[in-house]
Symmetry: C2
Subunit: 270 residues, 2 copies
């Protein structure tokens, strides 16, 4: 027997809407919303706390194939709860993955042995789609971890989660209150080359050796890096550009840098 919610004023419906809207509540409860068939299928079962589906969604699936404890929402309530205009009929409350600093360096049991750490460090990224795209691209480029300044947009924003294409469960990440301190520590204690992406840099990104332990530091979409963060890096690199474009989209710049590291590592050098 599957429980069915038909009232939009139901306390659980209100909580789902709050989880969609409020980063603070997500952080307090250490849970977030996952929407759509694809994310639902890709998410490790251990992370899923609650499942909500529509009757329409269940129609195509034998009840036995659904995990125990799923709850039915009417189409109308699903639309109210959903972050998308055309919800796919399935939504979950999932537990946030949680990591330590060491996990970001690729030293977890799952990490490939002997692989040099490759970090993406983000300062105050504000666009949820950009952040999600960076996580997706980071996984594909073999990034071992993502470090985020505390004023970076919430990784568990529904738009960000969607854009990660499930990389949110596979790329270790950590928010830090002291980004500059963390950069110095990576540089001085862990011997990493921290390359700050900076329009004023004299070194082109493809002249920076990325075969050893290294990190790319990317700043805010509109304002770039703070001087404090840029000064804490080992050096500054830029992406040479033609035409009259002043800067690339932040996610695009991060992707080009990460895949240059990936290219160098496949080729064993610059």
């Amino acid at each position: 027997m599957i429980e069915k919610i038909t009232s939009a004023t139901n306390a659980r419906v209100k909580r789902l809407i709050s989880l969609r809207k409020k980063a603070k509540l997500r952080k307090q409860e250490q849970v977030f919303l996952l929407e759509g068939e694809r994310l639902f299928t890709d998410t490790p079962r251990a992370f899923i706390r609650e499942i909500y589906v529509t009757e329409e969604y269940l129609k195509d699936r034998p009840e036995a194939s659904m995990p125990a404890g799923c709850t039915i929402l009417t189409e109308e309530i699903m639309r109210k709860v959903s972050d998308t205009e055309t919800p796919q009929g399935v939504m979950c409350v999932a537990q946030m993955p949680s990591y330590q600093k060491e996990d970001l360096l690729g030293r977890s049991a799952k990490a490939e042995a002997g692989k040099a750490p490759l970090l993406l460090i983000l300062e105050n990224i504000q666009d949820p789609g950009n952040l999600g795209t960076m996580m997706r691209t980071a996984e594909a480029a073999g990034v071992t971890g993502v470090l985020l300044s505390k004023d970076t947009v919430d990784l568990f924003n529904p738009k960000t989660v969607r854009a990660t294409m499930s990389a949110i469960f596979r790329v270790p990440f950590l928010y830090t209150d002291d980004l500059t301190g963390a950069i110095r520590s990576l540089r001085d204690e862990y011997g990493m080359q921290v390359y700050a992406a900076h329009l004023d840099a004299s070194i082109p990104y493809d002249q920076a050796d990325c075969t050893g332990p290294c990190a790319f530091l990317i700043g805010n979409e509109g304002n770039g890096l703070t001087d404090e963060a840029a000064n804490a890096a080992s050096s500054r690199v830029h992406i040479p550009m033609e035409g009259q474009i002043e800067s690339l989209n932040a996610a695009m710049a991060a992707g080009i840098l990460m895949f240059e590291a990936s290219r160098q590592r496949r080729h064993g050098g610059m």
Copy 2:
């Protein structure tokens, strides 16, 4: 004396809204909307047909600094007309730039002499933001022109225009009814290497020589390239990926390929 429109039912207001919403009308009239201070400033004056501003916007600017013939809209009407939630107080109707095939090959008077053509060919890209980001990145990577299949989203969609960061006025582009024929022509008549970005490719993108005349062919966000288009290319290339990500965002993939060509051209080889 500046004309002021205060009624939302004014015929010109209705036309502006139609120009925002309807690709067909934009195409018929060969004009489109530009929104915001930055685009307004960056756009060559010869392309601007009409200018609309709010009184708030004029406050900070001496009337003399505004080009003749601008029209005032109330804040409320500007919000109605605008594609953004917080309009910046200035909107223009601009003429579409128009190009011939030869322009895409960098053979216009403005193009750098002796530079090998570098094309981006897009099949059925559907996300306006992706298309705009691709134009912006294309300019920065030194792409000489962008060829678009006729079912690709309209380049003059307000979201696309915003994302191009004015590259829409600087990168030659052409919609074609016969993408496959155009690819064959570029390959056979113009001697270009046309590289299709394809998940099933055996050649990594960084093993493809991009120093000569070449083009990258990118497919739809969800479905990739049609077989017809992919088969018309000279060869297929892929971006090697780690982790469990199945594909990159289409704009990201295009950006990584275009900047690999830029890198090779700066280094004089792979």
